[in-house]
Amino acid sequence: MVAVAASSYARGGTRITPEIALEARWFPDDPQFEQQFDGLQAGVIFSGDLRWRSDDRASRIRFEPYLRLDSQDTQRSYFDIREASWTHRRGDWEVLAGVGQVFWGVAESRNVVDIINQFDSVEDFDQEEKLGQPMLRLGRRFDRGTLEAYYLPYFREQRLPGEEGRLRVDPFVQTGNPEFERNGDEWAGDIALRYAATMDRFDIGLHGFHGTSREALFVPDLEGERFTTLYQQRSQIGVDIQYTSGPWLLKAEGVAADVSGDRFLSSVYGFEYTFFGVAGSPLDIGVIVEHFYDDRDSTESPITLFQDDVFLGVRMTPNDVYDTELLVGGFLDTETSAVIASMELTRRVTHSTLLELELRYFNDNGGALVTFLDNDSNALVRLTHYF
């Protein structure tokens, strides 16, 4: 870590933390589709953070570039600006301009209200990685909560695995030339409003959004050799609530949306219960149970893996000096008994090096929705070094 004037960061200063990650992803099964690579996929990621804060703490700048190079899939070699934002606060008001990332929601496995950023689907399908979103945000703080208005001038197209890539539909999706319902281009602009508040044991978020849907509709071309993408108009209102009491976290998110005239509800609700200090040890074990429901007509909408699914997860935190964390979980489709299971382990191996292990398991059990992933169970190891 390069901590420039670190001792003065109590007020302001600059911090720069570059990082390099090496990763290997192994697919033991033969690929399901022609053109897909077999076996090992290696990658290297150059990234890092630059942070600056003014002495009065009123102004901040954050910059986070991201470059991934992939050995197998050209679509997975790319550069993105995850964040390049300027924030200024004066009294109860705060403005953010630039490229940013925003998280909305309370659930652990998937957040149906989280709409500001496009997900980075080439990184992973778990919707935890996001593309930087150009935005102008004006926030007003009140004693109970915060009201934020967003203007998002530019739409970020999904990044998806290429023809050689694994974890894709068949035929593959040709990105780079999407069609848009609104204006015909990515400059149509989105608007959003959110109010987030804390009331005693409740944390509540309300939002409205009007713009272009982040989900792509895959349209087969005339020859049936590839899909192209269509991004539809979307308006939605949504709510997310968490109730926190003792070791219980009760959670619910719901969205009522209109996508190009098709109206539907999408929701996730569940709980997280933590057993602290199991058997007198420092180990905490958290149990996560969540249920999704999405009433879209699956024949006319973007591919949604989560129609009527249950997520079960266990998080183990030994509270050691290495910040070890193990998360084991799985989605079970209640209609088809298709399974998506995963295991994620993170552990620091030196002061400046983080080790991550991930296992993903797919089994369609005859269900149609994840059939294209059926041969794509994989194991990933990633070492990240910080400078």
Binding site: R51, F103, G246, F276, V321, D323
Partner: protein, 270 residues
């Protein structure tokens, strides 16, 4: 990264004491009244500090001397009104994989504290359970309750006697019994400096009544306004042989933070 804490509070209340200019009031004779009076004058003496910011280095060492170092910054906003405790924002600088991780804590006297965690990779603010009182804080020998359960009303006090520590400091020894739920301790022995009213040492007794941890507070300095702060805290676990040392840089009392700096929306302001 799990939840974090606010050692500043530990310093500011456990360790805080009257300004040296304050005349020493006569203490009552009854051991309970006297114990409470000793703790209260320590607590009261810190009134009016407003807000502060401090950078800390936390060094964790195991029995073999292998060390892990964490750097953090803690902002504190003084409590306002009955029933409320101080508010604290803890931000981690290192290890680098947790840079930007932050914990916001709103302490209460009778109710459980409110805590929010910020996960920088996801840009996520998450309200978390505060019932994990006796669990270790970020792998250290400090438990959450060592760092958050520092409000005057959270203990019953009994004066046990006046002693002299190894370094010659005269201290009042006070029995402190947790009144809040889910404590990992049956009792604490708190040693308050009779001259500057600072907490010099705390001994922690586990549920079996065994002394298993000792906290020593040293390198006190007085800041303008009469606020005292320890600049080194050493927690020793007698069962495991592990230690955690917290070293503070000078406290900044002029940073002039307001309540907006201690709301969930401020967690990412780093």
């Amino acid at each position: 990264m799990k939840t974090l804490f606010k050692p500043l509070l530990l310093i500011s209340v456990w360790a805080s004491a009257a300004a040296s200019s304050q005349p020493s009031a006569t203490l009552p004779e009854d051991p309970k009244a006297r114990g409470y009076a000793i703790a209260e004058r320590s607590d009261r003496s810190d009134a009016g500090f407003g807000s502060s910011s401090v950078r800390l280095t936390m060094t964790l060492a195991d029995r073999l001397g292998r060390e892990t170092v964490r750097e953090l910054q803690i902002d504190t906003l003084e409590k306002k009104g009955e029933g409320n405790g101080d508010r604290a924002m803890t931000r981690f600088f290192s290890p680098p994989d947790v840079e930007g991780t932050a914990l916001l804590s709103h302490a209460h006297i009778l109710e459980s504290d409110d805590q929010w965690l910020y996960l920088p990779a996801l840009r996520r603010v998450k309200r978390i359970s505060s019932s994990n009182k006796s669990g270790p804080f970020v792998g250290s020998e400090f438990a959450f309750e060592d760092l958050t359960a520092n409000e005057l009303g959270k203990y019953a006090y009994t004066y046990l006697g006046t002693e002299t520590l190894d370094d010659g400091t005269e201290v009042d020894k006070v029995l402190c019994e947790p009144l809040y739920e889910r404590s990992g301790y049956t009792k604490l022995h708190c040693y308050f400096d009779t001259e500057i009213y600072q907490s010099r040492k705390v001994e922690f007794f586990d549920r079996g009544g065994l002394l298993f941890k000792t906290l020593e507070l040293t390198d006190y300095q007085e800041y303008p306004g009469g606020y005292w702060r320890a600049h080194r805290q050493i927690m020793t676990n007698h069962l495991t042989g592990k230690t955690t040392v917290l070293d503070s840089e000078p406290y900044d009392f002029s940073v002039d933070l307001d309540r907006r700096d201690f709301e969930p929306a401020a967690l990412d302001a780093f």
